[in-house]
């Protein structure tokens, strides 16, 4: 298998009240082609900062090595409405990545947009509409389609289903399954919900206070956690979801 991303000793340092503070500390991991890797942790653990550093959105205070073996990784964000320009139509939003990339005629772009709409199960009627007229689930599908427009090999999804209703959430998870298979996409899937990660990912990393405390194969990690914090998380999930008599 080919590596698509390799991160070595990545740290991100912030200054908080003049005290240095590591949002991400000595993180190392790699992502293989076609692999889905889950990143779990509680709020403020550094999940989002890590993904922003990998994508190069966060540049300040970043040390360590990030090796991309593919062009332009993309990102899907948590709040579907906030990820779409409210002043532009869906058609414009979907065409924009192609325009920026360049090298395509208007017709080619149009065809590509339609193809992508089909992939994410959206109707063509949406092209002339503004994001505010779409439901949360539809918005998230548009975001996914836009992110896939430049044919990335790696997609980072930051809590992409957390803001959605339960039934919509399961549809979007199914869409992730589908694109992952059809496009041989590598996905880093960030979530606080251990159930969602289990259902979608091959490998899992657990993050706490900027560090990855444990990573490994999903079955091992869920059933034989080694680190104290992982055990605590699994225990909490059981308290929440497993009925005791």
């Amino acid at each position: 298998m080919n590596k698509i991303l390799e991160v070595t000793d990545l740290s991100v340092e912030f200054k908080k009240d003049k005290k240095p503070f590591f949002a991400v500390k000595n993180v190392s991991f790699s992502v293989e082609e076609g692999e889905t890797i889950g990143l779990a942790g509680e709020s403020g653990c550094g999940k989002s900062t890590l993904s922003r550093a990998i994508l190069g959105i966060q540049k300040k205070g970043v040390t360590g090595k990030i090796n991309h073996f593919s062009k332009r990784p993309m990102m899907v964000f948590q709040d579907p409405e906030g990820s779409l320009n409210p002043a532009k139509t869906i058609g414009f939003i979907l065409e924009e990545p192609l325009k920026i990339k360049g090298g395509m005629t208007k017709e080619q772009r149009k065809a590509k947009v339609l193809e992508m709409l089909k992939l994410v199960d959206l109707s063509e009627d949406l092209l002339d509409r503004l994001p505010s007229t779409l439901s949360g689930g539809q918005c998230q599908r548009v975001c996914i389609a836009a992110a896939l427009m430049q044919e990335p090999k790696l997609l980072i999804a930051d809590e992409p289903v957390s803001a959605l209703d339960v039934t919509v959430q399961s549809q979007i998870l199914k869409l992730f399954e589908k694109i992952k298979k059809e496009l041989k996409l590598s996905v880093i899937f960030i979530s606080h919900d251990l159930r969602v990660i289990y259902s979608l990912c091959d490998r899992v990393m657990i993050m706490k206070d900027g560090e990855i405390v444990e990573q490994g194969d999903k079955e091992t990690l869920y059933f034989h956690p080694q680190h104290e914090y992982t055990k605590q998380l699994m225990e909490a999930a059981k308290t929440k979801y497993v009925k005791k008599d």
Binding site: V166, T167, A236, A237, T239, K240, K243
Partner: protein
């Protein structure tokens, strides 16, 4: 006679031209020490139902019909000053966002005591003692310090514990919790769930638990009501509904729960 009996509850909002039905024909009963869940997605009317029972829907453009009979009194019929004697005294409520639900300019202790100040004639020291006791009871470390702090100085979990302390300080008969764990981290969520279970067990406080999370309701509650678009789709014992759902929507909700090693 049951403690709480909701009959044919309907809530409509009148706009200039249109009328929106938010809740339609909701019926259920609760007894002392019951713990019941209402499950639904956004727009299902679950929060509206909870607010109606807590007497917090006072908007003029809202039409409420049916009966909410609490201890023999129809809460929809009585005057506000009679209702006020029940609010915070016999029925208390905990909300989703602990930070927004706390007044940012008042000390936590002042807010925890508020029900005592309104419903009893205790003096300052008595109230303070009771408040600190209540804060200790929700497993807050160093309750004296929490008493003196402002909401922004506490973590999310601590704030929600303080909210529960404030709701429980006067020992209400019914505690309504509207998505009390949704805004919190997983480990904290588990602790809050345990805390609510303990309160229910030790004090026999009835709990009405509103959530979008079917499996969470299953672990906490005995009975559940499934709502969609203002209508009750199915209700009954959690075990029955999980093992043998009748309604299409309930089936869909159960199917939407991600497969995981944590049961359904």
């Amino acid at each position: 006679m049951s403690m709480l009996k909701v009959e044919d509850l309907c809530i409509k909002v009148h706009d200039r031209k249109t009328t929106d039905t938010l809740v339609q024909d909701v019926d259920f009963e609760m007894n002392k020490g019951d713990i019941m869940g209402i499950v639904g997605e956004s727009g299902s009317g679950k929060t509206m139902t909870a607010l109606a029972i807590a007497g917090l829907l006072s908007r003029h453009d809202m039409e409420k019909s049916g009966h909410i009979i609490f201890e023999g009194i129809n809460l929809l019929d009585i005057k506000r000053n009679v209702l006020r004697k029940i609010q915070g005294n016999e029925i208390s409520m905990v909300f989703q966002e602990p930070l927004n639900s706390l007044n940012p300019l008042k000390k936590v202790g002042w807010q925890v005591e508020e029900s005592l100040r309104i419903h009893t004639s205790m003096d300052k020291n008595e109230m303070r003692d009771r408040a600190i006791e209540a804060l200790r009871d929700v497993e807050l470390q160093n309750p004296e310090a929490v008493y003196e702090s402002y909401p922004h100085e506490l973590s999310g979990g601590m704030r929600q514990r303080a909210m529960i302390a404030a709701a429980m300080i006067i020992q209400p008969k019914l505690l309504i919790c509207d998505e009390p764990t949704t805004a919190l981290d997983v480990t904290i969520q588990a602790q809050i769930v345990e805390l609510l279970k303990r309160i229910n067990r030790e004090r026999q406080t009835a709990i009405l638990f509103i959530s979008h999370d079917l499996s969470l309701v299953n672990t906490l509650c005995e009975r559940v009501i499934v709502m969609q678009h203002g209508l009750v789709k199915e209700s009954g014992l959690c075990d029955d509904i999980f093992n043998n759902p009748q309604d299409e929507y309930t089936k869909k909700l159960i199917a939407a729960i991600p497969k995981s090693p944590f049961g359904i």
